[in-house]
């Protein structure tokens, strides 16, 4: 028999408790995974705003066909830093760093990460890495794109380029340290009784992500170090003037950077798999299919990099190999999408902001997925590679996918993190503005690319003016959309309604402790009693009703 201990919320932290207001700990070398998670989250949102400002500058330049807002050199710097910030300082730290750190110990019933100090080191590499990257604007920002292909990266803006290399190396190191920690924590620190096949899907996603990070990031580091030698010392690994091969750089770069897109999206898949069942009030559909498809995506993700090089140095037969590998990834991804739909189907949907963003994620990610299969077709990619079609595709995946997912996660766990509820009205305004702005900004780019507009240009053929203007207006709506979000966050932290420990009626472990959780997470070790996704069963209803603080007695028989 399971013995269920019900306790009143006597743990400090239920709502406003003075010691929780100690903001200084968020600026210190804290080893509490929850503090680190929030440090990651706030830092990455900061850089998201920076990256967004850069994007607005890019779009403002593109409002007219002529080069009239910034210089050509600055334009190249703007989109290069925009992309670098968005990838290395926003999506990756937010998806893995913030949610991984905040959630993983909580949802597996652990008291902290496996290596708390390593964790803090990983975080504290990010602010200097980010500020370093920003400082490149003082000496001439790197202008060769976030891909930094040589020989171009060796001949323009050398100082900025060197800074870029150093900064990405620092940020990559941070990711590797984080990944090590996730793997050990998930494998070693799960609460007793939580087998791999019972752990939350977010853990599966983070396992797959961390494996990818460990396998691929060092290759990027290798490429960047060699590029740095070419740039600073004058070696010729990639410099054709000295007999080097620029295509080798592309292979090394994409060996990391293709997996990197899964490093960005897999954790979000995990978040969505946690959020949908709670607000649809139904078990996640096809647990194993979703769990194993994460692993399949991670494995396949490692062997498809050359699809970024169909028009570059890829021999003809190799194009076919990479084309077919790439298309195969659509299968595990399709499984996930259909499972999410089946989770929603027939549920009792609570359409709060978190759920809206989660459903928005599914609907927008599908567009990115479809255009992804299209570009994986080598003969078609010969037409659209390096055009706005690709810019549209990648934003549907990274913005419609990752950003919608991060927003969903932020709204979903905000009560847990802060002990306060968000304002749903502001949240819905945020969602509607984001959704409209996003589609206005990026949908027309598909047509622009197919019609012949190439990527990374400050000036374009006047025949593309109208659609570009629509994109720019959409991007302004997107910019406006963060205002209700920021207001909501800022206001709710201090004045939002007090959050109960389990505001959404969730079954994963983090909802079994107070909001926000006490320093060591749980009064007593939580032990598995029912499935984490067993919504719709009587036991689940009871467990949820039994709140507010429900902990399983340590050592209880099961």
């Amino acid at each position: 028999m399971t013995q269920v201990l019900q306790e009143e919320a006597k743990v400090p932290g239920q709502g406003a408790v003075p010691e929780k207001r100690n903001w200084r700990k968020y600026f210190s070398f804290s080893t509490d995974h929850k503090v680190i998670g929030i440090q990651y989250l706030v830092t990455s949102y900061f850089f998201y705003l920076v990256g967004g400002l850069l994007a607005e500058a890019v779009r403002t330049e593109l409002a007219t066909p002529e080069v009239d807002f910034v210089s050509r050199e600055l334009y190249n710097g703007l989109f290069t830093v925009h992309a670098t910030v968005m990838i290395f300082l926003w999506i990756v730290p937010a998806a893995t760093g913030a949610f991984g750190n905040y959630l993983i110990p909580l949802i597996i019933g652990a008291r902290d990460m496996a290596f708390p100090r390593l964790n803090a080191v990983a975080f504290w590499l990010i602010p200097p890495g980010g500020l370093l990257l920003m400082s490149s604007f003082l000496v001439g920002a790197p202008g060769s794109g976030w891909t930094s292909y040589p020989p171009l990266s060796l001949v323009t803006d050398q100082a900025g380029q060197a800074i870029w290399i150093l900064s990405v190396l620092i940020l990559g190191t941070s990711t590797i340290l984080g990944a090590l920690n996730f793997i050990v924590t998930i494998l070693k620190m799960r609460s007793p009784g939580m087998t791999l096949n019972k752990m939350p899907l977010f853990c599966w996603a983070m396992l797959a992500t961390s494996a990818l990070i460990l396998l691929s990031t060092p290759v990027l580091a290798g490429a960047l170090i060699l590029l740095g030698f070419d740039l600073i010392v004058g070696t010729a690994f990639f410099n054709p003037t000295g007999g080097g091969d620029p295509v080798v750089y592309q292979h090394m770069f994409w060996f990391y950077s293709h997996p990197a897109v899964y490093i960005m999206i897999l954790p979000i898949f995990g978040l969505i798999s946690e959020i949908l069942p709670v607000h649809a009030r139904k078990p996640i559909f096809g647990y194993r299919a979703i769990a194993y498809s994460s692993i399949a995506i991670s494995f396949l993700g490692l062997i498809v990099w050359a699809h970024h090089m169909f028009t570059s140095g890829t021999p003809p037969w190799l194009r076919m190999f990479f084309m077919i590998n790439t298309m195969v990834i659509a299968v595990p991804t399709g499984i996930k999408v259909f499972s999410w739909l089946a989770t929603i189907w027939g549920g009792k949907l609570r359409l709060n902001t978190a759920m809206l963003f989660a459903m928005g994620f599914v609907s927008m990610f599908v567009i990115g997925g479809i255009s992804g299969v299209m570009v994986s077709s080598a003969p078609f990619d010969l037409h659209v590679h390096d055009t706005y079609f690709v810019v549209a595709h990648l934003h549907y995946v990274l913005f419609g996918g990752s950003v919608f997912g991060i927003y969903a996660g932020t709204y979903h766990w905000f009560p847990k993190m802060t002990g306060r509820m968000v304002n749903e009205t502001l949240g819905r305004i945020h969602f509607v503005l984001t959704f409209i702005g996003f589609n206005l900004a990026f949908l027309p780019m598909h047509k622009l690319g197919l019609e012949g507009m190439n990527r990374r240009i400050a000036e374009y053929d006047p025949k593309f003016t109208t659609l570009n203007l629509v994109c720019t207006i959409g991007s302004y709506i997107l910019a406006v959309s963060v205002i209700p979000f920021l207001v909501n966050m800022g206001w709710s932290i201090f004045n939002g309604a007090k959050a109960p420990s389990n505001p959404w009626g969730g079954l994963t472990f983090e909802w079994l402790t107070t909001s926000p959780p006490p320093p060591e997470n749980f009064e007593v070790d939580p032990v598995w009693t029912i499935g984490l996704y067993d919504y719709g069963t009587e036991e689940a209803t009871e467990v949820i009703k039994a709140g507010p603080v429900l902990a399983m007695a340590a050592g209880a028989e099961t």
């Binding site: 021999p315 739909l341 009792k348």
Partner: protein
């Protein structure tokens, strides 16, 4: 969840299929088709669009339907039904994407083969042979022996030899940056750079026109090895297969003609190739699709597809003009000019005109292959 099997489902299915089929053919997203390759690529795109539209409608349809139908009623605090999975259904929707992807893969493979992706060997040999003949015919050419060796030596003619053949053509050599060595062959089957070979129906035949293309910051130069003509715009006769030998003088560029639906990177130190057959008279933009520096957006030219008669006339006029071209060229000392000054002619004309070519040529000839923008 059971697979709904009512009449409505059937009707929705039919409607969905019809809409997808219609939209797949009538999306109007592509520019004109001006090469023989374009209809093939567009056919593939339409096929993917049809499937994509279907999937899009299903997913968005389910989401919107759920949003309305399964919304929680204010007085209802119960949970949804306890359904964890459904193996037949899961197998069904694993196999649907699998089959669709297989279909797309087979179709893509077919199109790739039809635009010549699968005949690289045939291609190189034909090309080596062609250049060989051209070189023999060229006065003062001392390279015939090398070329003969190259085309005889090994049936898997490699990139190095193709590259030498292309770059030793005098007109091309004149515009080429020799400080970049041609790479020796790397791993991979006889080729280090990608190419589209001959299409199946033209297998074993020589391309009807060979043009050497050099990309440099920020212009395209086209040299015609048969005649020694150098131009800043690509003239091609309609209906004849054109082979481009593409190389780059400084950084990576990419040759793209949207109306032809083909693209190929120009990689310094490597030879790459592209074959296509123009099918429509007209002028189409040549776009540089790989970021190549500050003026990447201005690196434009055009392809002028003419009737064979017009093309021949153009070629004759160029041959006459090229006699005194080098003498007339304005010597230009780039180190004394800023990037903007140097490029004003490109930018103002949205492309490269013949006087620019002369300037570039003289620049290439007189300034010892130093790149004005590279430093």
């Amino acid at each position: 969840m059971n697979i709904p099997s009512s009449i409505t489902t059937l009707l929705i299915g039919i409607l969905l299929t019809l809409v997808s089929l219609w939209y797949g053919q009538n999306h109007g997203l592509m520019p004109v088709q001006a090469s023989e390759e374009a209809p093939l690529i567009d056919g593939l795109f339409n096929f993917m669009m049809t499937i994509g539209t279907g999937l899009f409608l299903i997913v968005e349809g389910v989401l919107i339907y759920s949003l309305i139908k399964f919304r929680r009623r204010p007085d209802d605090d119960t949970d949804g039904p306890y359904i964890e999975g459904n193996i037949p259904l899961e197998i069904l929707w694993t196999s649907i994407p699998a089959v669709l992807v297989l279909g797309i893969a087979v179709y893509s493979f077919e199109v790739y083969s039809n635009i010549g992706g699968l005949n690289p060997m045939d291609h190189s040999m034909a090309h080596g042979h062609q250049t060989h003949q051209t070189a023999m015919a060229m006065p003062g050419s001392a390279i015939a022996a090398t070329l003969a060796d190259a085309s005889m030596a090994d049936p898997t003619t490699n990139n190095q030899q193709v590259a030498e053949a292309a770059t030793q053509d005098p007109a091309t050599a004149a515009v080429r940056d020799e400080s970049i060595p041609q790479r020796k062959d790397a791993l991979s089957l006889g080729v280090t750079a990608p190419r589209l070979g001959s299409t199946p129906d033209k297998q074993g035949k020589l391309p009807e026109l060979v043009v050497n293309v050099t990309g440099l910051q920020f212009a395209w130069l086209f040299t015609y090895p048969d005649t020694g003509v150098v131009a800043g715009e690509l003239h091609v006769p309609v209906g004849q297969e054109v082979l481009l030998n593409i190389s780059a003088n400084d950084v990576i560029h990419a040759f793209w003609v949207p109306e032809y639906r083909v693209k190929q990177d120009a990689i310094p130190g490597k030879q790459s190739e592209l074959r296509f057959t123009p099918s429509k008279v007209g002028e189409y933009p040549i776009v540089c699709a790989e970021l190549c520096g500050a003026y990447h957006g201005a690196m434009k030219s055009k392809v002028i597809a003419e009737t064979p008669a017009d093309f021949d006339a153009w070629m004759e006029s160029q041959k006459l003009a090229s006699g005194d071209r080098f003498d007339r060229a304005v010597a230009l000392n780039s180190s004394e000019k800023s990037t903007d000054e140097f490029l004003s002619p490109f930018v103002s004309s949205w492309g490269v005109n013949s006087s620019t070519v002369q300037q570039l040529q003289s620049h290439q000839l007189h300034s010892a292959h130093v790149h004005p923008f590279a430093s």
